[in-house]
Symmetry: none
């Protein structure tokens, strides 16, 4: 009743976050973003990373050029995406096919049409010419030394409309030398119970098969699992399910499903336990909030609201969880549980080398944290501010600077926008009054603040504000709402995060800026 298929000898996890994932509305990845994400994927150890479509978009071309220079992948292999050559042409002279070769990857994946109606109406060519395009393009790329995968676009719809033609596309690609022929549910309309027979029919061609699913029926992961059960040896997906329309099969769920439900060791267990971290890191770079209830990796995925479940969990957590969350690097979380709260604080204190084993002290700090979080502060992503709060409560926070006042002015003068900040403070007994310019009020304040502090603490001039995030907390109120700002500051390879909250975004930013400088001084610069 719980059939477990055997893992094929060769099995590919093919990540297309950087290509199909980037098709998601609102998701824009710069070349630098893509390089960062590729490093995370390689750390996790997916088999393939599809990087983009060289030649079709200038930034994708640039990605492959930079990747060749700076990416040093240890586990994963980079893949360039492309298409079959144009009808009536030749793969050897096609501009896009050329760009694919020039991308310099060992692996390429090309999309081919496999639905007869699409060949005729969208591609406006004959069914035979489409097969010839596949043959010609695959052969050409192999002759150029590439390993070739072929994505059969609209394969499932195509098979339902004209099975013989859809299968002839698979056969043609495989016979021309494609190492994997990928069956794509491009429009995403399939259901799991419809997958098996079609995949089995395609397997009759003898091709190595892969699958590529979209989530239009909320079944992308399930459809992929069904194809795996029917014998595919290559699964395509994206992290966090990013992708065109409803997104692609979510690898952050698919990989744990295959590894923990089927017992296939696709990743070493110590890598699988990095998947929550990797999913969150990718979400951060993609600037997409990660859904709390995202399977396996979401913040709420192993969270229990107190009640019916709580007493059973005290008996044995496994009574109310389908896997041990540590396997995927996630945690069981008890919500609205005072004990869990205090335990969290104690564990964090331990990590910072501050003893909080005193129950009363830990309870007082827990209350303080809860009160601040209710105001809008968030400490789970700003350890530096949490440490400042801890030290303040323990009476061991010595402010190395005293701020008297600050102000910042932006104006348009003759078509140029100019922003200037003035900061007055005292550091090491000396009063400073400094003006800074910047590309916005926060930048100008940061410049002025660091200049003012640097007289007393010269290292502060090297501090760099590396990230600045603003979150409006009561949405629907526009600019007239409480805001939270998070600031990342880096210095000599260390990075720390501080948080500020206020109804005025400049005030919230100032708080985070000041904490960033103060934290940097007392943790990284010997005070005297």
């Amino acid at each position: 009743m719980t059939a477990i298929p055997t893992c094929p000898e060769e099995f590919h996890i093919f990540d297309t976050s950087l290509r199909d994932g980037a098709q998601q509305e609102g998701l824009r990845l710069t070349v630098a973003d893509k390089l960062k994400i590729a490093v995370y994927l390689d750390e996790l150890g997916v088999t393939f990373i599809e990087g983009g479509w060289p030649g079709a978009s200038p930034s994708d071309t640039q990605f492959f050029a930079e990747a060749a220079q700076v990416l040093d992948l240890r586990t994963s292999k980079l893949v360039a995406f492309g298409a079959t050559r144009r009808p009536g042409g030749s793969a050897s002279t096609d501009v896009l096919t050329r760009a694919l070769v020039d991308a310099g990857t060992d692996y390429v994946c090309i999309v081919a049409k496999s639905h007869d109606e699409h060949v005729i109406r969208a591609l406006r060519t004959t069914l035979e010419e489409n097969l010839e395009m596949i043959r010609d393009t695959v052969t050409f790329l192999i002759n150029e030394g590439k390993h070739v995968f072929v994505d059969c676009e609209h394969f499932f719809d195509g098979y339902r409309a004209n099975p013989a033609y859809a299968l002839s596309v698979v056969r043609t690609a495989s016979e021309a030398g494609a190492e994997v022929v990928v069956l794509c549910d491009t429009n995403g309309g399939m259901l799991p119970s419809w997958m098996g027979d079609i995949v089995s029919a395609a397997a009759q061609t003898g091709a190595n098969l892969g699958v590529h699913c979209h989530n239009d029926t909320a079944c992308a992961v399930a459809n992929t699992m069904a194809a795996v059960e029917a014998g595919v040896m290559h699964v395509q997906g994206t992290f966090n399910g990013y992708g065109e329309r409803t997104g692609n099969a979510d690898l952050s769920a698919l990989i744990p499903n295959l590894q923990l439900k089927f017992g296939w060791e696709l990743l070493p267990p110590e890598r699988l336990s990095e998947i929550t971290r990797v999913a969150h890191a990718i979400a951060l770079v993609a600037h997409q909030p990660l859904l709390g209830r995202q399977p396996y990796v979401g913040q709420s995925s192993f969270a229990h609201k107190a009640g019916l479940h709580a007493s059973a969990i005290k008996v044995d957590p496994n009574l109310y969880q389908h896997i041990d969350p540590a396997l995927v690097g996630n945690d069981l979380r008890m919500l609205i549980s005072d004990m869990a709260g205090r335990a969290n604080i104690q564990i964090k204190g331990e990590q910072l080398g501050i003893d909080l084993s005193d129950r009363e002290l830990a309870a007082r700090i827990t209350d303080k944290v809860k009160a601040k979080e209710a105001e809008g502060y968030s400490y789970e992503s700003s350890d530096a501010s949490f440490e400042m709060l801890l030290r303040q409560e323990l009476g061991i926070l010595d402010y190395p600077i005293q701020v008297h006042s600050w102000r910042v002015l932006s104006e348009e003068r003759d078509g140029d926008t100019i922003t200037e900040a003035t900061v007055k403070l005292t550091a090491k007994g000396e009063r400073q009054m400094v003006v800074g310019e910047g590309n916005g009020p926060v930048n100008a304040l940061d410049m002025a603040l660091r200049k003012a502090v640097a007289t007393a603490y010269p290292e502060v001039a090297e501090f760099e504000l590396t990230d600045y995030r603003v979150r409006i907390l009561d949405e629907g109120h526009g600019t007239d709402a409480t805001v939270r700002t998070l600031i990342d500051t880096s210095w000599r390879g260390e990075t720390w995060t501080t948080v500020g909250v206020g109804t005025n975004v400049i005030e919230a930013s100032w708080e985070a800026l000041l904490d960033a400088i103060v934290y940097g001084i007392f943790t990284h610069i010997a005070s005297d």
Copy 2:
């Protein structure tokens, strides 16, 4: 290969958004919220609405009391949730069973344990007493005039551990008179291919079966579909997939799947086409942003970004969509981005009522869009700015206001942060010089700008800035980087989005603010 099961004569859509949905972390529903959501669900026409657990939480008790007074459901039936009586007691004297009766609904749904280990370790009673608790509670409730459903908690895990006992629970509930016995995947660890055999085994008892799935393997909808294919006549789920941990089966995907993929007419077609509106309305009440890529009902679910897709969509939209989006009340949307081709631009122009069939014109605008996107603009989520760009290129954009200068100042004075903006402009021939205060520079500029324009166009005073988003484009450069701001402006039920880009965040915000006002004037206020 695409097996379509036949719809049972009686089939229930059982919504538990108000009960299990409310278990989601961060989701808090007041009694008023629940009443509003119940009205939406009734408008759509689900069979049952589970309202909460009377007696277990005071606000749930209050909900049923108020529902009895004010809710006038036309299609759906309200259900009160409860549990089997305590071990060793009697249903007739159990406080919670009593509260269930007092809730005053015709239908009740009680949870019973069906996993032997849970009976022994969590409930701390015998397997036989658990069966007796079910018999006693169901019989008592029927004698009180109720229709009774029984949720078998952990049924699938229980069946895998001890099939005979799990089936005896189903049999006991059914024989005692439960009208539906609901098989629950409480921990959410099932896969679709594991459902069929277990559901079929349960069906051997002769009970009417239902299913209740969670999304811990990203398969809640697929598991529910698999159970339906195996013969259940009752599906439980929540709107937008809200629920404990990873959430429940998402009815906003499940209902369209059953109706459009299986062809079952569960709702009249004109009601199904309300499902997108209902899903969004529920999200609004629940104060949960609706994920853009949510199947069927998400804003991105029928949105196309790739140029490859757009050219085929010009031939026939059905080539790249799995259903007609109008069936669920959603729309095809063309996204304008640097991946867009001429076809995207032409379709978008058509939607705006602007003729771009001229190839040269369309190509020129495509180039312009790509150049602006390279600078950092993003038109896929800012239709208003795209329309302004179009009108500018076509020479049909008449600026109703001329800005001379603006400036904004933030400063800390005696511990308070004050932000003031000054705007000078001419509208309808009159020069205005206005000062505004705000909770940050953008808020202050918005205030001053609208005040200055409102003398000439009084409706502008009612414009509301409802969302403001900032994205730093070259991360790793901190505040010293290009930023993009997106602003949503609302007026009398219409919302439009504008974009601004600059190295100075205030300059970028000003651009988006000004465009928002100008767009609002020329599209919504008759110009003279």
